[in-house]
Amino acid sequence: MSLLSVEHATKRYRRGRLERVAIKDVSLEIEPGELVAVWGARRSGRSTLLRVAAGIESPEEGVVRFEGRELARFRNSILGHRLGYCQMGFNAADGGLVVEHIAAGLLAQRASPRDARRRAQEMLLRVGASQCERMSCHELDGAEAVRVSIAGALVTAPALLVIDEPTNGVEPLDRDPILALLRSLANEGVAVLMSTGDAQGLSGADRALSLDNGELRGEARPSGAQVLPLRRAESGARRR
């Protein structure tokens, strides 16, 4: 049994009389500890595929299973628990401190405030963003925001992390360290499903799936892939 299986998923969007098929009869499986990158151009359906795979949206046709359970039926007990979806960007309501933002996921699961805060600090340290702990969410730069987002998804110890374009909006020199972070998480056993619109995002992926016009076109897998950082990864994120 695969950790995640997407079986013949089709998703359409309608606007008035117009209908667009975002993904069409897509099937894929992800095993524990795998880093899978979905490459596609803009409007290829890559973001839709990730939202469907994470249970954010349900396919009109096909089924998504996580650890054998149908995601559409058990979404509330899977998403935000064993499956972490990295929510990129922060809205105006996220005015609190980063550490509070991270801890919120655990508080929602009735963890004690003390435990939730300690776990949030651990995750910020793990993703190299411990210096962001006392910052407000709107103070973060692109790379820090991605790291904090990953920490927020990791705080519930998921088996699968889904992240849409992790290097989007990140300065070029900060991108490889983020990819190296995702690689290291996979090496520790957390499966990662990510999307990318450029060649850099494919670095270090165990499998690369190419998506075009909503259809999977191919799959490539080198052996022993690792990220070669464009700049040596620091123990923490960029120093201020």
Partner: protein
């Protein structure tokens, strides 16, 4: 130009035996010509001279040797003869050569890998592409294989052991290495963008002209 090793060819969907046959550029060119149009040996020789003469030097004996090798590998075959009653007489010794489905697949796989790794020979490869990829279906298959070559290289750019400056140790060599990796990545980005464009063009070709 480095030839792909057997493991690499196998991973790319090229049968090892086919990969071995396709190490010969003359054999590849002959296969492309046979895919383009089933022909007798002498006609293939004439078309070879017209199409590839300025790039590849091969006498008639080399052309026939290549045809024999391609036949042995099952990439081409003799066309079956037909009587006036329509009853098949089986393959005839003097019948024209035609490509097998396996030959067409092997050719596209070889071409996709070679076009990517050998940009200096774009013109010759372009002529080979025109010879062997002459339907929308074949072009779509070729594009898919080309894309897989791009994606694979993007993944492998970061593989350990590919360090160009291994052992050099200086910060300058390290930076130069990373810059070279980045140069390749940007080249691949351009190739992937071209693939997206090519697919859109092929889709438009399949759906026909749009009324305006």
């Amino acid at each position: 130009m480095a030839l792909p090793d057997e493991h690499a060819l196998e991973e790319r969907g090229v049968d090892l035996e086919d990969g071995s046959v396709l190490r010969s550029q003359v054999a590849c060119a002959v296969l492309g010509l046979v895919i383009e149009k089933p022909s007798h040996g002498y006609e293939i020789g004439r078309r070879f001279e017209n199409r590839f003469g300025e790039f590849l030097s091969a006498g008639r004996s080399s052309i026939y040797a290549a045809l024999g090798t391609l036949m042995d590998a099952g990439l081409i075959e003799k066309m079956s003869g037909r009587s006036t009653t329509g009853v098949s007489r089986g393959a005839k010794a003097g019948a024209p050569y035609k490509a097998t489905a396996r030959g067409a697949r092997a050719y596209r796989a070889w071409l996709a890998e070679r076009v990517r790794s050998d940009p200096q020979r774009v013109e010759m490869l372009g002529r080979m592409t025109l010879a062997g990829v002459h339907s929308v279906e074949a072009a779509v298959d070729f594009i898919a294989r080309y894309e897989q070559e791009c994606v694979r290289e993007a993944q492998e750019l970061a593989r350990p052991g590919r360090s160009l400056a291994a052992g050099a140790g200086s910060s300058v060599s390290s930076v130069v290495e990373r810059l070279l990796v980045e140069e390749r990545r940007r080249m691949i980005d351009a190739q992937l963008a071209w693939i997206t464009f090519a697919r859109a063009e092929l889709r438009a070709l399949e759906t026909g002209p749009v009324d305006v």
